[in-house]
Every structure is written in structure tokens, then in C-alpha cells.
């Protein structure tokens, strides 16, 4: 059914339905299929809603005279065929406005100039935004600094290497394809379409297409860190003259336009990994890479990065640390049996001992990292069949990162297990599939089929039952099904009181119960991992981290996380004092309840109906940390589960909730 055949009431109903579906997270193609509206109409309706609410969604009386219908339909057909051509060509060639013009000429007998072809493409929403121009036209202060400093150096290096500067981008088109594109400094654009999200080999192909187009060398400006990894992989395969730099801001806060722009703003520094790998390859390239690192975070990163990777040479002056306090340690050597030197009044003490400095040893984050790695290695060394539980949240992201470090250069020798309640945010599923694919993890997902059959959901069954069946029970099922004997989890002791008492290697009975009164003592870093038949172990490498540590680490290590952690306009309803995001159409709206667009983010991610959003302006990791430090409520407050009963977590854990 086409729009023209609808009367305006039907049309308006369709438009409203389309907006609802879009807000609930359905893809454009799904919406298109269901309501029969064209993509631009749907997009326009959503835009109208965002600007003016439901009333604005309805069509205005049509005052504008209709254009030539045959020309319109001819153009629409041309567009469809062109998309078909893009789709068929995929990665075999790069498209430019020039060869679109050629195509129109040969295939459609439409003699158009390159400019007209560009106009058509623009009109069809097939021309990506020029990121370079966008940034240059209205730079943020960070971007301005970058453009004027690091980027300038980068261009200079590119020139010395006779490399062409290309601004790379990736977006999802209104038709649902992925468009990988590159803008030259003069504004020429080259692109290719893919029918699905690109994987490593696609990037590789894209870069080599670019390379044949610009054989003298590539100087790539990348929108995010993940792409820089792809560049590295590409470089590893072909020893060419390729430089790259990561731009300081991601242009789009809307994740549907740029799925992998997980890390925003000044986090977009290429990871140490990539830099170091480059070191080993060609010294020449390295010098360029290093010199073009954006300054934004240099000062903050320098200390950590150098200390982690190769403890700064001038840094270790252990002497100062081991010097005895006046009258203390030196006396200790004289005699074993002596009266200890008791200082009752010693106002000088703080000045003599000085401020603690991590320059001699490790910083608290380095210690936490080393401890977590040690725990994971111990699991792998002693378990028969280990697994890492993956919740898609930020703690899981940190765990994945630590796992990669712990076993490098090998891949982590265990799969990830996602216990899927089927009620996670759509964005979490997308992120999960992308990141697992990017990083090469093996992912197992488990859903409690029985729960699904009985359509257990948080709305009709309440949070307690839902969590019990879809999470607690499902986890037990999955562990039993695969016979995992040790499950690595991301729980932290600071999250909740009962967790503060849990061991790092925490035992579960054959019934998966936790017995808090019967825990093994855990001394030094000697973990007793021996199990009785039927027992299993939960290992918690992040036990000693707190929320701030997690964020700092994500910040310093540029760890990709689900964009839901960053503030963006999202449709929410207010329930029981919590802002709940309307993530899909399974969420029944109460009477008179209308989703409002609010700029919100999530401090913790679980099932969307149970996870409260907070209103926020934070779009970068430092801003999140800033908000968190100034915030007045604790992290788990955003989860409905804890509010159910007092000591509820302890009870849940005894029953086997992770």
C-alpha cells in the first residue's frame, strides 16, 4: 500500500505508529515493512515528533503543488536501482559522484553532470556528511586545539610521505546498509556500501581499494579507536606507507548513525597497542604516529601509559621508599626484643614521610590490573572448563580488556557466556555482536527457554520473578548445560554489602547456592581452587575495583562501551520515580503515558524495563566521572532489584544469582 492510497487519518495513524516503533528501537526497514511508509517519511515523522511532540507528527494540509509524478517515480526508481548496484558491487569498487553520474548515464540514460548526480545523492540521503568540513566549520574547543596542533603535524607528515589525507567515516544509511566512506581534503568522497556491519576483512578490502586509488600513500583520519585497530591489521598485512590518526570528536551522538563510535571526544586516542605494534614494524612510521598523538589527554595518559607498559626509566627510585622512619626501622635491626618506638606526638611525621608517590611503585590502577590478570590466569591454570560471564555492561568491557591482556599474545582460552533475559536494550545486543566479532571472542548465549515459553517478563511478573527465572535460573541452566566449573564474573565488593564479604574464588554448591558462613579463608594471593564433586566456582577478578576505578580505567585504556552509558536524547517514561527507556514495543504504556525525549544516560545496564536512566549531559568518559563524583546516589540505586526487599541481594546470591 502506498501513501497516496491512504486517507489522512490512516496516514496519521501510520505515522504515529512509525514514530512509536522507531522510538522503541525498531530498524527503519522493519518499520517500513510494518507501516508501509517510505524511509524519508518515517525519518521526517520522527524528527517532527522530537521537535513538536505527537501533534507535530500529523501531516500538514498539503499546500504545495505536487511535482511531476512521472519524474518523481522515475527518480525513485533510479534510486532503487542505484542502491541495488551499490549492494551488488559491495566491496569490489569504490563509488564517487563521478561514477554515479556515469552510471546514471549508461544505465538510466540520464545525462547529468557530476554536480547534479551529487545533488540527487544528497536528496536521496546517500551522501555522507563530510566530517572534515563539519569539524572545521564549527570546531569544539578540543577540536580546535587538535586541528591546530596534532592534526597540523599529521598533515605535514602526510605531505612528507606524499600521502593523501583522507577522512574516514562509517554510517548506516536510511536503507539500512553500512556506508564506508572517505573524504579527501578537497571534498571528494569515495564510498562503498555493505549489506551488514563491516568486519575486519571488509575494512581491509576498503583500505586496499583506497590504496589503489591513492597509490602514493594514505594518511587516514579516523573517527574512533576501533577503526584504528582495523588500520593496524591492514598495515600488518601489507607493508605500505599508511599513517593514521584518530580525530578527537565523534561527529554523531546518534548511535544509529555510527554504531561503533562507542568512545567519544578526547578518548579517541589510538590505543597503546596500536602504537606499539607500529613501533615494531617501521621506525619511520612510528615516529609519525607518535608525533601525531592528540594532546588532549597527553598529560593524563603519559604517566599511566608509560608506567604500565615500561615503567619509566627515571621513575623507580625505591630508595626513598625503603628508608626507615626516623628512629624506627634502623632500630629494628639492633635487637629483636625491644620496646617499640611508640610515637604519641609527632607533628613532623607527615612532612618527613612526605606525600605518597606512585613513582616508586605502581599506581592503584596498575595494582588492580595486575591482580585481576593474576586471578584470570589462575582460573585458566586450575580450571577444567572455565567461562567468562558477559553482561555487555562496562564491568564486562573491562573484564574483556583484562582478559586480552592476561593471555596476550594468545586469545583468552575461554568463551564468553551471555545469559540473555531477552529484555536487554537493543543497543546492547548490537554492541555485543559487534565487539565480540571485532575482538574475536567466542560468544555463547543462553536464554531460559522455559521462561520464554511462559512469556515471563518484568511487566506482568514483577522484577523479582523475572530476575529469578530469566537470570538466576538461566545462569544455572547454562552452567550445567556446558559443564563449566569456573565462571569468571565482574562483581565488585563495593557494589553491595553482602558482596563485601565474598571471596575472590567463591564456591557454589551443586545446587549453585552460596554459603556465606562456610567460606574458605583467602590468604595472601594463594587461591585454593580445589572443588568437591558437583561444586563450582565463581571467580571475581574485579573484586577490589570500585566504580571510579572502572571508569578511570575505561578512560585511560580507551575501552569501548555501550553508547547507552553516554547521554543522548532518548524516549523515556517516568515510573515509580525512575526514568525507564521505551526500548521496544513490548513495553506496555500506561494510560496517558507518553514517552518523552530526554537527554539521559545509564549508570548501570540490565533489563531495560528494570534499569533507571538518569538525566545527564555527560557525553565523554571524563564528564561521566565528573557527574558520578558529584552525584548523590549510588550506582545500584538504578536497579529495581535491590529495592524489592531488605537484604535482597544476599538472599538472591544464596539462591544462585550471580
Amino acid at each position: 500500500m502506498s501513501i497516496d492510497q491512504k486517507n489522512s487519518t490512516d496516514l496519521n495513524a501510520a505515522r504515529r505508529r512509525a514514530v512509536q516503533l522507531r522510538l522503541a528501537g525498531s530498524t527503519l526497514s522493519d518499520v517500513r515493512a510494518e507501516v508501509g511508509l517510505s524511509t524519508p517519511t518515517i525519518v521526517a515523522a520522527v524528527k517532527a515528533f522530537k521537535a513538536g511532540g505527537w501533534a507535530a507528527v500529523d501531516v500538514k494540509p498539503r499546500g504545495r503543488p505536487r511535482r511531476n509524478a512521472s519524474a518523481d517515480s522515475e527518480l525513485a526508481q533510479a534510486r532503487d536501482e542505484l542502491m541495488q548496484a551499490f549492494s551488488t558491487a559491495q566491496l569490489t569498487q569504490l563509488w564517487t559522484t563521478k561514477n554515479v553520474a556515469d552510471w546514471l548515464k549508461t544505465e538510466k540514460a540520464m545525462a547529468v553532470s557530476q554536480q547534479t548526480a551529487a545533488n540527487y545523492l544528497q536528496h536521496w540521503q546517500l551522501l555522507p556528511v563530510n566530517l572534515h568540513r563539519e569539524m572545521s566549520d564549527s570546531p569544539s574547543s578540543a577540536a580546535a586545539t587538535w586541528l591546530d596542533g596534532e592534526y597540523k603535524d599529521f598533515r605535514l607528515s602526510a605531505k612528507n610521505h606524499t600521502a593523501s589525507v583522507l577522512w574516514i567515516g562509517l554510517r548506516t544509511t536510511p536503507d539500512g546498509t553500512s556506508q564506508l566512506y572517505a573524504h579527501t581534503l578537497r571534498g571528494r568522497v569515495l564510498w562503498t556500501h555493505l549489506n551488514s556491519q563491516p568486519v575486519s576483512s571488509d575494512y581491509k578490502q576498503f583500505f586496499s581499494l583506497l590504496q589503489s586509488e591513492f597509490p602514493k600513500g594514505l594518511a587516514l583520519v579516523l573517527p574512533n579507536k576501533l577503526l584504528s585497530i582495523e588500520v593496524e591489521k591492514f598495515c600488518a598485512a601489507a607493508s605500505d606507507n599508511t599513517l593514521h590518526i584518530v580525530a578527537p570528536t565523534s561527529r554523531s551522538a546518534n548511535p544509529s548513525e555510527n554504531h561503533i563510535a562507542a568512545i567519544q571526544s578526547n578518548n579517541n586516542v589510538a590505543s597503546n597497542t596500536t602504537k606499539r605494534k607500529a613501533v615494531s614494524r617501521t621506525a619511520q612510521r612510528t615516529s609519525v604516529s607518535t608525533s601525531v598523538r592528540p594532546t588532549v589527554n597527553k598529560q593524563l595518559k603519559a604517566n599511566h601509559a608509560s608506567a604500565v607498559s615500561h615503567v619509566g626509566t627515571g621513575g623507580t627510585t625505591g630508595k626513598a621508599m625503603t628508608q626507615p622512619l626516623p628512629g624506627t626501622r634502623s632500630a629494628a635491626n639492633d635487637s629483636q626484643k625491644r620496646k617499640p618506638d611508640i610515637k604519641v606526638a609527632n607533628p613532623q611525621q607527615s612532612s618527613t614521610s612526605g606525600l605518597p608517590s606512585a613513582q616508586t611503585g605502581l599506581t592503584h590502577l596498575q595494582r588492580l590490573e595486575a591482580e585481576s590478570i593474576q586471578i584470570m590466569r589462575e582460573v585458566v591454570a586450575e580450571a577444567d572448563n572455565p567461562v567468562m560471564l558477559y553482561s555487555v555492561g562496562k564491568d564486562s568491557a573491562v573484564m574483556m580488556h583484562l582478559a586480552r591482556k592476561a593471555f596476550y599474545p594468545a586469545n583468552p582460552p575461554f568463551p564468553l557466556l551471555h545469559v540473555d533475559t531477552t529484555w536487554k536494550f537493543q543497543e546492547m545486543y548490537r554492541f555485543r555482536d559487534n565487539i565480540v566479532n571485532e575482538l574475536g571472542f567466542e560468544l555463547l548465549t543462553h536464554v531460559n527457554a522455559e521462561g520464554v515459553e511462559k512469556s515471563v517478563n518484568p511487566f506482568t511478573h514483577g522484577s523479582a520473578l523475572h530476575t529469578d527465572i530469566m537470570k538466576t535460573e538461566a545462569l544455572k541452566q547454562a552452567l550445567d548445560k556446558y559443564g563449566f566449573d569456573v565462571a569468571i564474573g565482574g562483581a565488585r565488593r563495593d557494589e553491595e554489602k553482602s558482596r563485601a564479604k565474598e571471596r575472590i574464588f567463591s564456591f557454589r554448591t551443586a545446587q549453585h547456592r552460596w554459603e556465606p558462613k562456610n567460606q574458605r579463608p583467602e590468604l595472601w594471593n594463594l587461591y585454593n581452587t580445589r572443588k568437591q564433586p558437583g561444586e563450582s566456582i565463581r571467580a571475581f577478578p574485579l573484586s577490589n575495583w570500585n566504580e571510579l576505578d572502572i571508569w578511570q580505567y575505561i578512560h585511560l585504556q580507551n575501552i569501548p562501551i555501550v553508547p547507552l552509558y553516554f547521554a543522548a536524547e532518548r524516549p523515556v517514561v517516568e515510573r515509580d520515580g525512575m526514568l525507564i527507556m521505551v526500548d521496544d514495543d513490548r513495553m506496555p504504556l500506561h494510560e496517558g503515558e507518553v514517552p518523552m525525549m530526554r537527554k539521559v544516560r545509564f549508570r548501570t545496564l540490565g533489563c531495560y524495563p528494570l534499569t533507571g536512566a538518569i538525566e545527564s549531559e555527560a557525553t565523554t568518559t571524563p564528564e561521566i566521572i565528573q557527574e558520578m563524583l558529584l552525584a548523590k546516589t549510588s550506582e545500584r540505586q538504578g536497579r529495581m532489584i535491590d529495592n524489592d526487599t531488605a537484604a535482597s541481594m544476599e538472599k538472591k546470591k544464596q539462591e544462585g544469582y550471580f
Binding site: 615503567v311 617499640p340 558462613k517
Partner: protein, 635 residues
Amino acid sequence: MNAKTEKLIVEDINQYLGVHEKKSQLRIITCGSVDDGKSTLLGRLMYESKVLFEDQLEALEADSKKFGTQGDKLDFALLVDGLAAEREQSITIDVAYRFFSTDKRKFIVADTPGHEQYTRNMVTGASTADVAIILCDAREGIVTQTRRHSYIVSLLGIRNVVLAVNKMDLKEYDESVFNKIVDQFSESVKELNIDSVTAIPISALHGDNIVEKSTQTPWFHGTTLLSYLETVNVDENPMQDSPFRMPVQWVNRPNLDFRGFAGTIASGEIHPGDAIRVQPSGKTSSIKQIVSFDGEMDKAIAGQSVTLTLNDEIDISRGDIISTTDQPASSADQFESTIVWMSDDPLLPGRPYLLKIGTKTVSATVTTIKHEVNVDSLEHTAAKQLELNAIAVCNINTDQNIAFDAYEENRETGAFILIDRISNATVGAGMLHFALRRSDNIHMQAVDVDKEKRSELKKQKACVVWLTGLSGSGKSTVANIVEKKLAAMGQHTYLLDGDNVRHGLNKDLGFTDADRVENIRRIGEVARLMVDSGLIVLTAFISPFRSERAVARALVDDGEFLEVFVETPLHIAEQRDPKGLYKKARRGELKNFTGIDSPYEPPEQPEILVDTAAMSAEQAAEKIISELRRKGILS
């Protein structure tokens, strides 16, 4: 969080982060008796350092009204007493870990119980602590438990101690009360190895001298508790200057071209090119690379988890220690150590336990308990076995050489835990002092005439036929017939019989569990020597415990130990009662009699089972002979 910090967060989050990324970490243990106010102190520290959020404060207010012991005031203890049961009993019953940070440090606090029977929890908390806060009640002064806590703190090697004299408000902030307690404390810990004690008069309830200097104690000129914790010059990474040690945790072999040794550096530092020695094997090589996800490193230091590759292909596995060649670790299989016992089942000398040190797990037995230490009086007392919470100096034997350092010199390579072989529970913690003999100097003498040669001469296969069963089951009778038959066949045998051995080799042993374990250990060793000499050894002992039979089995090679379960129901054995012992035991004249007041653990999978209730001694012996034949012992 003070106003200045808050301002910095608001105005320049990046600078704030820069400061906080350089923070160090301090691990603290708080210890004190029940009601000294540990939880309150800790809750106060968290409250004062503003790590509490509004919702937690609301919950605290609500909880204070519901469970609180402070009337209308906030009961800070409720913040840290996590488990539901504890709230009701208002005592902390397990180790809980708490976190708070200031601008200078991140603190991890092990909150450990003061309740008497939970010494093991305190040892657990103290094992990772840099600083100990010992609390005492200003009204009570130094009590027995204060001494006990101080002893454990010194035993675990914590050299920096704060004596926090709490509840000063209840003694009108009286200076003389404080001074008296400080003197008492100093007297009571003079025997202990504690370097530095800082005494601070506080009131956790009112916050005196916790963060801000109290106006109530104008006579006190020292630092506040928090400022002490922020500035105390503990050697944050005490091991940086020690010789290099890295226990190999995992061998990383992603493909044939890469072989890396992953581990956490226990002490010292390492660079590519450094010459290393692998222990206990003693093989040497040098470091090729320090591999990490973040790129190759030119140096790694204590505390880092790294992966090393070597320039030579030498055999290294999990549990080995990599040292630098100039200062290698020691290597031995007999040690003196201090053991803290943590299990309800007592430690029995001679019983094999698993010992985990670093990344290595070996079998170990305590050979001698030299003395137990009374934690209250510090007196040494003799002990035959160790009960829960006992601390003792013991000699310990491992079944293979291990690389180690004295705990005093290196906490990481000198600490071990003991694990029960049957229950898999962690039953003890220990600290190595020194090797009893340098096994580097004692090599097994390789002899030219070996077991095979000797057996060959005798035209037989040497083995132990180990009969086990209740008293009166017929072990000696059956063993005697078996030996006669073997002799008739021209075999070379020896019969070790319970009663006979107890008259000689083991006449110093009684019938307690501990002595029974030692009895069997000695017999096992003798049997092993006899097997080595090529004999078929028959033993007839009750040998009631599975774990000791397992030891005897482990002493000889696979296939050389044949366990024969001489099975007879207790009532039949008691009817037979050839020596009248059951009657004595029933009358209470004989203690620890197997089957009556001492357990018998039947074999789970004996090689041979003879049921003497159903067959005669002659038939039983015949069955054993035919089994020996079937197993190829006899031709």
C-alpha cells in the same frame, strides 16, 4: 571530598583525573575486640571521606532507627555489617573488604572480627595488609585480645601499627587514661617484631581525631588517623628492592613459535637480557622479551603481571620460580615454619596435606610440632596436634623440592596454605623460616644395583601387600598363611605385623590419631625400603585412615601397592575378640579403639577384597595368592 576537591572536579575534571590516576593504594586491617567499635570507626572513615551517597545515607538513617544501638544518632557500624545475620546479632562474623579514597590514596580495608574463635579471619585479613589499626576501648585498656591481635599482626609481617584508643569520650578525653594505655601496650608488645606504633586518642562515634583534630584533646599533638593513613611511609611495594622472583603461573603457547611464561612478579625487577635461573630445576637462560598487550617492555617490576620469553628452550612449567642467576631462591624439601591452623579437624603430624606456595601445589606433612605458641601469653607449650586457631612452630616435609625464600624476606615466596586432601578445605596458613637441610647438598645416591636387579635375582616382582581391616578381622592370620605359601613357592618375603612393630620400631607411639598416623608413616617407609630390596612385603595393620594408606601407596611405584581389605562386620570381629581388646574397650579401659571410639575408614577401591566372615583364613589366603598371580606378581 573537601570543597577544594569538589571545585576541581567541577572546573577541571581532567586535572582531577590526572591527580587521581597517580594515587597509590594502601591496604589496612582493623582489629580489636568485640565492641571496641571497629565497624563504627570504619563507617566513620567512609562517612567522613564522603564516599557515601545520599541513598546510602538514607538507608543508614532508616537502618539506624530499626537496628541501631545509638538511639537517634547514626549507627555507622550498620554501614559495614553486611550479612543479615550479623545485623541482628550486632557482631561482624567474617572478613569484609571496604573501600574509600582520599585525594592521596585508595584504601582497601579488611574488616576482621574481634570475636575470639575467629582468629583465622584476622590472619586472613592481615596476610595482605600494609598497616594495622589495633583498636582498644579507653575504658578497658589493653586486654588479652589486644595482645593476641598484636601478635598476629607481627607474625604476618605488618610493621606499621596504629594503636587507636577509642571511646575517649567515655573517659572525658583524659590524657592520663590515654598515656596509661600507651604504656601498657608498649610493655605488652615489646617481645614482638613491630617497628613503628603510632598511638592516637579517638572517638569513632563522635569523630574525634579521625579526620579533623579534636578540640577535646588539646594535649594531643599527633596526627589524626586519616592523615596518618594518607602519609604513612609504608614501603608500598616492599619487594621492589629484593632479588627478582616470578612464580610461573601459566605457560602461554598460542602456537609453535611462541612460548611465554606468564606470572606476577613477586619481587625485584627484570629486563630483557637478564640472566635467569629456573628453580627448583636449576636450569639457566636469559630473558628474551617482556611481552605485553601494550607492547614489549624494557623493564618490569614487582607487582606487575607479565609474560616472559627466554633465549633458550628449557623445560619450565607452572609452579617453577624464575630468579636472576646472581641471587636465586633457596630450594629444599624440609623446612621450619610457623603454621596457623584454621580447621575444626586438628592438624596431625605425619598426615599428608596439600601445600600451595606461589603457584606450586605439592604434598606435605608436618613431621614435628616443635612448640605451640600461646597467643595470649606468648609462652611456648608442647603439642601433639594442633586445634582450630592454634599457632605453632613446626617442621614440615614436602614430597619434592620447592623454591622458596624466608617469609621475613619475601612474603610472596615464603607464604603457603595447607589444603585437606579429602575435604579440599583450606585448613592452615604458614610462613617458612628456613630449610632444615639444604637439599641442594643432599643428592639421591644413584646406585648400580637397583630394585629391578635385586628383584630379578630373586626371580620375582617386588611389591607391598597391604592388609587393612578391623582388629579381629584376621589380618595377621591370613598374612601368616600367605607368607607360608609364598615361602613354599620359593619367593622372598617379609611380614610386617602390627603388634611386632609396636614392640620395636614404634614402641614410642600410642594410639591417638596423631600416633596412628606416625605409626603408619614409619611402616610405609620401611615397606618401601624392603620393596626396593626386591622383597614381597606383607603388612598386617588396622591402618584405619584412608589418607595414611594413600601415603604408603604413594611411597612405592604404580602397581607395587596392593591394598587388601580384610572385611568383617564389626559385630563378628567383636565376637571373635582374640585378644580380649573389644571387651576392654567396651568397658572403657582402652581408649581410641578402632571401631569403638575411633573411626575405621574402609578402602574405596581395594585391589583385593577378602570377606573373612564368609570364607576361612585358608580360603582368604588362597584368594590373595591367586590375585597376585593374576596381577603378574607371581609367575
